[in-house]
Amino acid sequence: MRALGTVFLKEVVENARDRRTITSALLLGPLGAPLLFTVLMNVTLERERHGFEAPLELAIAGGSEAPNLVAFLKGEGVEVREFGGDANGAARAVRAHERRLVLVIPADYGARLRSGLPASVQLYSDASDTSAAGDRVRAESLIRGFANQIATWRLAARGLAPTLSRPLIVDQVDVSTPAGRAVTLLGMLSYFIVFATLIGGLYVAIDTTAGERERGSLEPLLTLPVARRELVLGKILATCAWMIVSLTLTVTAFAVSLRFLRLEALGMAANFGPHVALATIGVMLPFVLLGASLMTLVASFTRSYREAQSWLTALLLIPTVPIMFAALYQVPARLGLMWIPSLSQHLLISSLLKAESLVPASVLVSAASTLAFGALLAFIAARCYRREQILG
């Protein structure tokens, strides 16, 4: 155990003098991740707010055929623009992104409406342009509102109750809490935290394995009267230490930077105070051992520093895959999923952000399973250093 401590201290100190470790553990993760995240979030928030607040701009072709409709839209605050072309011109303009939406009113609109036949209007939009989706929905609902008004008048003129045409009314009741609404946007947060944690130990894992071999210091090290598992475990723990530094700094940076996001403007709240920050670090700690063991094991098999670098960079993507799926499909925090490392950490952190209290059993299963995987990989790494092929 004495040798383990010696190796641990030496690797922590030596890497503290290495520019690559310092940049990745102290700068890249803790500063880069929150910065990138804040920028991404601000863009999203701006877009959402734009959708709610900005006046809808609608180009109309053949507006003179439907003065009442145009007047209705203007009355609803729509900025109506005259569009000179026909249906083909409208399609071209939308496809070329000159216009987001074009409403085309055919020449027979007035005649059909007067004779009580369904009059059709065409709303041109590009469904692949996600930024126009909100505008399309708003325009459609306004036009529908106008149609409902006409229906109401027609029924009233015939002495019928307008409610006859509305046998069913759907009321939307949103039960999400402000923090809960924020979480869909904040779903990426755990992704960034996992990423920054791994980055913090990446160069330490390479330096202590592939780097040690490439420098020619591995062979002398292995001639010492020390059990090799102590050497390997010391190296893994040094990687853990740097990952914890990166994790702590990253979470702190997030706690600070989230204050600058104007989530309240959307009726959301970011639940990321000191308690949640601490709990997040706690939830992540078992993952640190797993990440460090995995990176050490993989880097031990590579033949050079450069090769280790490319392998570990690819490896960074693995733990983010379950998180991507969970965010995409809105996977709930079920106990049955808690044995999966990285996914369970993501789900637990999401629960914390939603201001839900953590289920002790979930926390326990997540920690135990992640630690077990980490210990298994550390054991395999220690076995590898007993093989003579480790010298490369």
């Binding site: 004495r2 040798a3 010696t6 190796v7 030496k10 100190v13 030596e14 890497n15 003098r17 290495d18 420098r215 020619g216 210091s217 062979e219 002398p220 090290l221 292995l222 001639t223 010492l224 009267p225 020390v226 059990a227 003579e388 010298l391």
Partner: protein, 242 residues
């Protein structure tokens, strides 16, 4: 004392070491001489425990390296071929790291490091980071590291490679001092002159086998010219007739 008994090692189809027996006695410098690819490094790697022999065994002061690695290696200082040091640590820290791993600590270790810094003339660069050290400086630090736990036995794989004249001289002086202090020193080389200048006993290997051994006097007596170089060439020709 180092004793290698019938060591053999193969890598796939290649028989790197067929059979090597040798003894490096206390108070003597033993040279392992052979052309490149003769199996010198493989033999020494089996001695200091990073390769497992297919047959035979390595004994350090009677302790079997394969069976009691920690006890046996505690009595050995090994300097592998092209051994690297840690560039981000100072010379002193490099030595201290190996000292701690060998079980030393506290003032004993610091005193020993000071002693080695003096012995190897490291003082000038002892507290500088090893990044940018010359080859000679690196070798001195690596040697100090190998000697830090004052091992009774010393094995050096091609230590003289790439040293300039002053560095070679101070290295030879050190080896002789260690011999005179009663240590067993075993080192490998493919340079005839180096071995001739230093060794009390010579073991010549070729193609993974010992082809001749003895004192320099014994070996030179086998050839008419009385030169060690001719003895070396004659020994090699006995196994691979030209």
């Amino acid at each position: 004392m180092i004793v290698l008994e019938a060591l053999a090692k193969r890598f796939g189809a290649v028989e790197a070491v067929r059979r090597v027996d040798l003894t490096a006695a206390d108070g003597r410098i033993t040279g392992l001489l052979g052309p490149n690819g003769a199996g010198k490094s493989t033999t020494l790697r089996m001695l200091y425990g990073v390769l497992r022999p297919d047959r035979g065994r390595s004994l350090i002061d009677g302790l079997d390296v394969a069976r009691e690695p920690v006890a046996a290696l505690g009595r050995l200082g090994a300097l592998p071929h092209n051994a690297g040091i840690y560039p981000q640590l100072t010379a002193r820290e490099n030595v201290r790291y190996f000292g701690r791993l060998s079980g030393l600590g506290g003032t004993d270790l610091e005193r020993r490091i000071d002693e080695l810094v003096g012995l190897l003339e490291i003082g000038e660069f002892a507290d500088r980071r090893a990044k940018g050290f010359s080859h000679g400086q690196r070798l001195k630090v690596a040697l100090a590291r190998t000697l830090v736990h004052a091992p009774q036995n010393l094995v050096l794989d091609e230590p003289g490679n790439g040293l300039d004249v002053p560095a070679t001289r101070s290295f030879r002086k050190l080896i002789v001092r260690l011999r005179d202090a009663g240590h067993a020193v075993l080192f490998s080389s493919h340079v005839m002159q180096e071995v001739a200048a230093l060794c009390d006993d010579i073991v010549i290997i070729s193609d993974g086998r010992v082809v001749a051994h003895g004192t320099p006097a014994e070996l030179t007596s086998t050839v008419a010219s009385g030169s060690l170089e001719d003895a070396f060439v004659a020994a090699l020709e006995r196994v691979t007739p030209a």
